[in-house]
């Protein structure tokens, strides 16, 4: 009766973390997924839900700067961590990566776009001059069904060359 246990659970933990630069304290079950905390508890719906098994990347966020599928991340794993969602990127003005997606048309329906951009952010934060193989590896966990990746590849190439030139 897993559903009964889940439905009646009372055990909660005090989750202390930072989300988009703001310290936050939440009473949540330790097994609540970060995805649900973001979307359902905090209404940060820029993080999308799609496969929920870590295959599509729609729910990608940064945890201490690393790209992470928030559908596979439990609340207890976030304790003391700094989490950045798409809403936390370019909060005052759009991030250069976002600008590249806008200019090159790196999106259609837009549902994969926040996760896609988060993955580019993680890549370029740690690797300012990624090779084609580095890019392929960083981006292979993000699926897009609309674009055939054409516009996304052009956006990322542009973001990479921009990053290289601003070093």
């Amino acid at each position: 009766m897993i559903h009964k246990i889940l439905a009646e659970r009372r055990t909660e933990m005090d989750l202390e973390c930072e989300i988009n630069g703001e310290p936050i304290s939440l009473d949540v079950p330790p097994t609540r997924r970060l995805l649900s905390i973001l979307r359902d508890d905090l209404q940060l719906t820029g993080t999308k839900v799609s496969c929920e098994i870590g295959r599509c990347g729609a729910c990608m966020v940064l945890v201490d700067g690393q790209q992470v599928n928030s559908c596979l991340t439990m609340a207890y794993q976030c304790d003391g961590k700094s989490i950045t969602t798409i809403e936390g990127l370019g909060s005052s003005e759009v991030d250069p990566i976002q600008q590249c997606f806008l200019e090159e048309g790196g999106y259609q329906c837009g549902y994969c776009t926040p996760g896609m951009i988060i993955s580019v952010k993680a890549l370029l934060t740690h690797n300012p001059e990624p090779s084609a193989e580095d890019i392929e590896e960083a981006m292979s966990g993000n699926l897009c069904r609309c674009t055939g990746y054409g516009g996304i590849i052009r956006s990322v190439q542009k973001a990479v060359s921009l990053r290289r030139n601003t070093q």
Partner: protein, 757 residues
């Protein structure tokens, strides 16, 4: 023109919906929530075929926090849905026919309680024999899934005497082609928010490709007048035909009305797989014969489509397939028969390409094989048999004449990718390269005899915004951006002057569906009709406000200008304030249809030629797409970024259809339940080169403007890949997705090792 950002110049614009998409601010309908809302869930059949003896809901109802548990007894109106042929139960009464059939639905305060409620419903089933094969389903011994039997639709077309012509053929190719149960795999699964409003109204926030059609179906189910329901249907996180039919809407609507509270439903991926539509798996037999010169004398086709448990648009998909297995060629004689058959497999229905994907894979496969038999160049062989501009369409129907076929043929014939197809670059000896091409014509619109309304409105709103109001949907294709660009280019407005209103039945007129590659063309035609009256009216109102004759006024960015366009005389805001009465113009007309009375026959066609270069790893059997080129004749390009995106995106989807995608079923049960086993192309699969060439010329006096491009990118890739694989490996494959095992060659050293020699 090769389409890209550079060649597009100033026409390459940031989409109006772009900033909110890249920042995550855009609220999709499945992102919405309301204070005090309940979570809706649907109990679906665990069996592909069973009788329902009893449904016990008492235990579920007793759970604190569960507000409603509904079954078929709670459906006030018609307990059925289906766009054309409503044969799918909203909630099953006495029988389930597939693994996604809905039996009950619940609304509870939390997702956990909703899950517990589902688990607490007891349904007594009696298992029935599973009909999972469309051939066996047609046998007299097969259990009947519907009162009329297991044939949803049977159709045929013929011209000339096929048997007689076959006897005069020099070469005959006979093959059977099989295509997969492809899944749309929109990244946003089905869902929405359903809100009971004051006065007995209901607001439905849920994606669909035709808001008014959902409203009609929901009214029928709920037993409500249509005007009591408001359907808000955009923005949408992908659809590709998959959200054209009702999905969660009946359950959300019923639960909201029963509980009097907002209800949210959002499918998990597995529920989306289980309940959602797929592309019809088809088996297509073709026997095609040519004379010694290569002219096609006879073409006989038989199509069997697995339509699954319910109809949706299965009959229409089959009609489309019959038309497109004939396609762009001339035949002395042709005979096509098709049947769409009910089974206990998942429901097949509308999906980008609409039966053309399967048809063209088979037809182009025949063309390549015949050319080889004849020792002819495959592209020359196609030219020899190509319909001429003055020829009728595939079903003998009158069609709108264009030179598109020859234009795309010519474009590919001189493309470097095609010209250099014999050159094989040397790499590891287990890697082989090959190039293949396909030639397609693809109809747009719903076809003759099917109501296919179009139209829209232009208005000057009180705040001075020019409103373009259409009943179309934005599911990513860029419809909003295209409409904005049309208003800028064809009317002279500035982007900031314009407000686009779509996807809300309380606000928009009937414009027909956003399907069948029809929306861009119909927006263009609407604006052509509205342009004169609307602009004249603006000038007339301005003239009386300014006391300047209309001849000395011009419509421009920000408002009304003097005739040399150096002084802005009146802003649109001032014009709206001063206008004597509301400035609003509406147009309504049907999608152009052929005068030939053949149900489903198309009148407007887009033409494309596509070539691909692939690399096959003979050790793993994996096929990698290196290069592709598409030449597309679809009239003037309305929005270069959108056009390019449709061809690239349609193509990417077709690569999956050709190489990896199949919703595998065993005795009516899905084996592929999520994206770990159902593999859509990733970045690594689609990072080859792609060139899209748009051929924009139309014959003088053509009045139909831009043709559809939403589907054509997705129909020619599979046969081109199959031919390229043959060129690389010498292996002809008739079944998609291509099974890597059939391409693997055991290296010599392995044979030795096993033999121990």
């Amino acid at each position: 023109m090769i389409l890209n950002r550079t060649t597009s110049g100033g026409r390459w614009r940031i989409r109006p919906d772009g900033p909110d998409k890249v920042t995550g601010k855009l609220a999709y309908l499945t992102d919405m929530s309301r204070e005090g809302m309940l979570i809706g869930r649907v109990l679906r059949s665990p069996h592909p075929h069973a009788g329902i003896v009893a449904i016990h809901t008492d235990n579920a109802r007793k759970i604190p926090g569960v507000h409603a548990v509904i079954t078929h007894a709670d459906v006030p109106g018609l307990n059925r849905f289906g766009i054309v042929n409503p044969d799918q139960p909203v909630l099953c009464e006495d029988r389930v026919r597939f693994i996604g059939d809905a039996v009950a639905a619940v609304a509870a305060e939390t997702p956990e309680l909703a899950a517990l409620a589902l688990e607490s419903i007891e349904v007594e089933y009696v298992l029935l024999p599973v009909v999972d094969d469309p051939v066996q389903a047609q046998s007299k011994l097969s259990p009947k899934l519907h009162p009329g039997g297991n044939v949803l639709h049977r159709t045929q077309y013929g011209e000339g005497k096929v048997e007689k012509e076959f006897s005069g053929c020099k070469h005959i190719v006979e093959e059977t082609y099989m295509t997969p149960r492809q899944m749309h795999t929109y990244m946003e699964t089905e869902g929405g928010l359903f809100i009971p409003e004051e006065g007995g109204r209901l607001t439905v926030y849920s994606p669909t490709q035709h808001g008014y059609k959902d409203r009609m179906q929901l009214a029928r189910i709920l037993g409500l007048p249509e005007f009591n329901i408001r359907v808000v249907s955009s923005p949408i996180g992908g659809s590709f035909g998959g959200k054209d039919e009702l999905n969660v809407q009946p359950y959300g609507a019923l639960l909201a009305l029963v509980t009097g509270k907002p209800v949210k439903i959002h499918h998990s991926r597995w529920e989306s797989v289980r309940a959602g539509l797929k592309r019809h798996p088809m088996t297509i037999k073709m026997r095609t014969g040519v004379d010694g010169e290569g002219r096609i004398l006879a073409h006989r086709v038989s199509i069997i489509a697995d339509t699954g448990a319910y109809a949706t648009l299965g009959a229409e998909v089959l009609n489309f397939c019959v038309e497109h297995v004939i396609g762009p060629y001339r035949y002395e004689s042709v005979e096509v028969e098709g049947v769409s058959v009910y089974t206990n497999n998942g429901v097949s229905g509308e999906f980008r390409g609409f039966g053309g994907n399967q048809a063209i894979f088979a037809l182009e496969g025949q063309m390549d094989r015949l050319a080889e038999r004849l020792g002819m160049d495959p592209w020359e062989f196609r030219l020899l048999n190509m319909r001429k501009p003055e020829d009728p369409g595939p079903l003998g129907q009158e069609i709108v004449r264009t030179d598109g076929a020859k234009q795309v043929w010519d474009a590919l014939a001189v493309n470097p990718l095609w010209l250099q197809r014999q050159e094989t670059s040397k790499s590891e000896h287990w890697i082989r390269r090959g190039t293949g091409a396909a030639f397609v014509m693809h109809g747009s619109g719903l076809g003759f005899g099917i109501p296919d309304p179009a139209g829209g409105m232009l208005a000057l709103a009180a705040d001075g915004k020019i409103e373009a109001i259409f009943g179309y949907e934005e599911f990513g294709q860029g419809l909003i951006a295209t409409l904005e660009l049309m208003l800028i280019e064809q009317f002279g407005f500035g982007a900031d002057d314009v407000r686009i209103v779509i996807g809300d039945t309380d606000l928009v007129p009937h414009s027909g569906s956003s399907t069948a590659s029809r929306a861009t063309g119909m927006m263009w035609k609407s604006l052509q009709k509205l342009r004169g009256p609307f602009l004249n009216r603006l000038l007339k109102e301005a003239s009386s406000l300014l006391s300047i004759p209309t001849e000395s006024l011009r419509v421009g960015i920000g408002g009304i200008w003097n005739d040399t366009q150096d002084h802005l005389l009146l802003t649109y805001g001032q014009l709206a304030q001063g206008a004597t009465e509301e400035i609003i113009y509406q147009t309504h007309f049907p999608f152009p249809a052929s005068p030939t009375k053949r149900i489903g026959a198309h009148y407007l066609y887009t033409y494309a030629a596509v070539a691909v270069q692939v690399e096959v790893n003979m050790l793993t059997g994996r096929v990698k797409l290196l290069k592709q080129v598409h030449a597309v004749a679809a009239g003037p390009v309305m929005n270069p970024q959108g056009f390019l995106g449709q061809i690239e995106g349609g193509s990417g989807m077709a690569v999956g259809f050709a190489l990896t995608e199949d919703s595998d079923m065993d005795k009516g049960v899905y084996l592929t339940r999520n994206l770990d086993t159902y593999l859509i192309p990733s970045w690594a699969d689609l990072n080859g080169e792609i060139e899209v060439q748009a051929i924009e010329d139309l014959p003088e006096g053509d009045e139909h403007g831009p043709r559809g491009v939403g589907e054509i990118g997705s129909v020619g890739i599979a046969p081109a890949i199959a031919e390229a694989v043959y060129q690389a490996t010498g292996k002809r494959l008739n079944k998609l997705p291509i099974d890597p095992e059939l391409l693997q060659e055991v290296p010599e050293f392995l044979t030795k090792a096993v033999d121990g020699r």
